[in-house]
Subunit: 148 residues, 2 copies
């Protein structure tokens, strides 16, 4: 699987969350052989849940996996991962993190690299524009989601 | 609320998880005024969920909160927090992390301190002995939980 296909799944999830009235951040976890292990989106509003960000939701949906399944995998996420999601990727030894955009929020990218994770920024316009729209519409929910 | 009372709640949660056949790690989030905002335990086995550690389960059970609620709060956890739970505490600006023990697993304590979080190690014998018992009984589940 190429990176644009993985990021397209993450963006589908982000749009789905927006349609549900939620925070439009999505993610997908893809194994080294191209298998989609999981996909998901932020569920703060939908479930009243503060730990279901795009990436953690994806890990939850992927279910219980042995460490070997995460090895060589890539986490695709529409937005730069917050500290929690950064830590979740580190816990499971995810090898690569591909990020849609980091203009509306800058998370733990430097720490991921410091810990040996490959980080790529796609600088995707659609991801950025969807977040900009949401932040303008619901700034207080967005601040809550990033602990501000 | 003093720290021994907060840690006692976390240990109750750890024992509860053990009784459920789960990984015996518990936590409690307590506000600066002593209010118990949430409590919880690892749910990997019970729910087949890889993101519900003691601390994240506690944050989930606390529900949606504004940033001000986390300010000055303490996360009590029976075991040194993994990278994911370390990041979750950082995301929400939790001020203090009180840890039952760090002998059976050493997580992100140094990074928490580096980021300005107060970290206390209780070096609690009951917390350690319960984890030692569990790890001896189910080493493969424990390795899965820490991505090994
Ligand atoms: Ca695009
Ligand atoms: Ca004790
Ligand atoms: Zn996140
Ligand atoms: Zn953890």
């Amino acid at each position: 699987m190429n990176d644009s296909k993985g990021l397209a799944i993450a963006f589908e999830e982000a749009k789905l969350s927006y349609q549900e009235g939620g925070i439009p951040i999505g993610a997908a976890l893809i194994a080294s052989d191209g298998t989609v292990l999981g996909r998901g989106h932020n569920m703060r509003i939908q479930n009243g849940n503060p730990i279901l960000h795009g990436e953690t939701s994806t890990l939850q949906n992927a279910g219980r996996l042995p460490a070997t399944s995460y090895k060589g995998s890539t986490m695709y996420t529409t937005l730069s991962p917050c500290d929690m999601c950064t830590g979740a990727c580190l816990l499971y030894g995810i090898s690569r993190v591909v990020i849609g955009e980091n203009k509306t929020f800058l998370g733990g990218e430097a720490y991921l690299k410091q810990r040996g994770v490959e980080v790529l920024i796609a600088d995707d316009t659609e991801c950025r524009e969807l977040m900009e729209k949401f932040i303008a519409e619901k700034p207080e929910v967005w601040n809550e989601d990033i602990g501000v």
